[in-house]
Symmetry: C2
Subunit: 415 residues, 2 copies
């Protein structure tokens, strides 16, 4: 290739504790309520994207996990992000030219090749569109050297996938609803960085499901159209919860954080159920995990909330807890939802460290825990537990080593 | 025995289409919203109660399904019904005496023996408290010859079990919320008698469940205390739905009736889920039945609603439909949720009539029905289907033949 310009970066997944569900504008992706999330460590879950711009590219192309997306012209969400970043690039080029800079490269006019991969299986049902679109926009901003703030970029990522705007920051991130019709104030801001609350961890329980649920894009607009309860949630419930959970985070108040997190997960699934026809994401395993966590919280000596579950648009549980409780909770989950694997390491990444030689799930139950609360589920009902921490926002990688495109501008790894 | 006075009667089960969930007064059992139900035929589901009063009885005693309830003094709900009916009896006795009647029997002062049975297994998880308390109060009113209206009686039955007030009428019955603090206007009224809509039938799908859910008495007050969405339901949603479904019933408009019924079942389970900690009554089988009915309604040629599901505080589905659709629906349910029994008759009472020799569940799916909508469930996930009709209110039986107490005033049949 003659000339090309390329950047590679990575972006994290985020898991909301105040849930986003419903758009007031489906084109600009403006939500009906504010939301708040925790960004998870990229060690376990991340999207990685390489974008190359070149005057030699005949068209813009996209590969997702090694498979080319055809008909990207009709991928409106992708086009939104490309259009907005190119527009800013063009402005920037004009500004530089005006300032007398001689060597302004007209990147805004070049086609790009985009190669994006996740380090976790899409089949796991973990929202990959948030990390994916955050990575797309962040990498474009790097490539175009855009002189804009992360919050500014979040408004672009939002137009790719709503919750992607929150993946542009690490730590604790709010997506402010905004009030403008053009979306100019519907943006992400960081509430606190990852090192603000280092004891907070997340356990992701991957739950098997026979049936793929309704997509969140489709589901949420059915809720907006048909749920009488959603309006009340939007107007009366969420604003108060946003305030309270922000305080809880700033004060590292796990009791308050946990209660609001569980209540908001419950309410999100409640408005799904109030949709006509109803939308279900929780299955019997999800509900049993809720029962276990509820018993765990109510049976301990001081009746302290020691764990908080939250569920997105699928049956997987994310359990937020403080580091000291992690071994106890993994043991609990493993006891009631044993893995269907020969090796404990395939069920939980680091069993030895936690259980000092005992098999996962074979440590005794916590004192006072009512063992009859649910039956023991068939092996494999929970496929895997991922233990992860709070993480950083997108990271720029450098050089050829990390780039995922070869000399011809095609993915090095194709499926 | 020297002298005794005895009555026996039967009462029906009712299944709400606008759900009762929440009390504003737990002693008087005053609800937070009005509700509306369909009374089911006593052919399949009924409570039967014999009550005998005698000056020889040393104390008041109660047998439920052949087992004596001890400590009935602390059964407040029972005592409510006894106290209120005795009070009315006493008033009536005083009135008769005042009028110069010579032979007034002081029944209000006698102890009673109460023997009550259901013709359906309590284990099936069908609300038996409604039919049971309706039968108690109706039989007491017969015994005491109370000169009061059924609506008047409904206010007493309400103090035994809220939804029991609706079982005092046949057909379509509203329980009006009322506004008085003493409960004097929280009562049942008949919207239409059973013969108003003879084509309407109900299919009760008995669903296995590993875990008994929270009792409705306890559950509903947790919802009142903790669900932010319940208040909105009470104030904004139910009043409108009560009006609309009453109209739908009066016009025999199945489309409207079905939609409101399904929406209200969904919303009841939504506020259960919005409770903290959440309450679950639907399990994976219940949710799969909802999917089947939703597909059945949306896939038929005219996109007509042909069936409406509703779920009470348990996993059993009640499907309302018009008679013409019954074979198709039973075939559908039997296909996806085959019975775990040798004989089709143990799964569905009258298979031959419907399937002309074919085994239940082996007729083809309705045209246009997407067979992939759910997997086929393990045999026994639905244990039984009961096909029933709209029924009458309580019935007085006559004479010794039907009485369930023997000469000594003890149950003829004891467990």
């Amino acid at each position: 290739m003659s000339r090309f310009y390329e950047k590679t970066s990575t972006s994290p997944v985020n898991i909301a504790v105040i849930k986003y569900w419903g758009k007031r504008d489906t084109t600009l992706i403006l939500p009906t309520n504010s939301s708040l999330s925790v960004t998870l460590s990229q060690e376990n879950l991340q999207s990685k994207t390489t974008i190359r711009a070149s005057p030699d590219f005949k068209k813009t192309r996209l590969w997702l996990n090694g498979i080319e997306e055809i008909d990207i012209d009709n991928n409106k969400r992708l086009q939104n992000c490309l259009r907005e970043t190119r527009y800013l690039r063009k402005e920037y080029e004009n500004k530089l030219i005006k300032e007398g800079v001689k060597t302004v490269i007209p990147l805004s006019e070049y086609n790009v090749h985009i190669c994006s991969e996740n380090n976790f299986p899409t089949a796991a049902g973990l929202a990959s569109s948030a990390s994916g679109f955050a990575c797309l926009v962040y990498t474009l901003a790097q490539l175009y050297e855009l002189p804009v703030s992360t919050t500014e970029l979040s408004k672009i990522a939002r137009q790719g996938s709503g919750s992607a705007c929150r993946s542009l920051f690490g730590g604790f991130v709010a997506w402010e609803l905004g009030s403008q019709n053009d979306g100019s104030d519907s943006q992400a801001i960081q509430i606190a960085p990852k090192n603000h609350w280092p004891e907070l961890e997340a356990l992701i329980c991957i739950v098997s499901d026979a049936k793929k649920g309704v997509s969140s894009t489709e589901g949420m607009q059915n809720t907006v159209a048909t749920s009488p309860l959603l309006q009340h949630r939007i107007e009366q419930v969420v604003p108060e919860r946003m305030k309270s959970i922000t305080e809880a985070i700033l004060n590292r108040d796990f009791q308050k954080f946990a209660e609001i997190t569980m209540r908001d997960s419950n309410q999100f699934h409640a408005v799904c159920l109030d949709t006509y026809p109803p939308i279900f994401y929780l299955n019997d395993v999800s509900r049993a995990i809720i029962r276990v966590i509820t018993e765990y919280n109510s049976s301990n000596e001081f009746k302290k909330l020691k764990a908080a579950y939250t569920f997105d648009a699928g049956p997987n549980a994310v359990i937020y807890t403080l580091r000291e409780n992690v071994p106890e909770i993994i043991n609990l989950i493993a006891k009631y939802f044993p893995g269907n694997v020969k090796n404990d390491k395939d069920y939980f990444s680091d069993p030895d460290q936690l259980f000092a030689g005992n098999k996962v799930g074979e440590n005794p139950l916590p004192q006072g825990f009512n063992s009859q609360i649910i039956p023991i589920f068939p092996p494999g009902s929970v496929k895997q537990i991922l233990n992860t921490r709070i993480g950083d926002g997108p990271q720029a990688l450098n050089g050829e080593k990390d780039g995922m495109l070869n000399e011809e501008g095609l993915p090095k790894r194709l499926l």
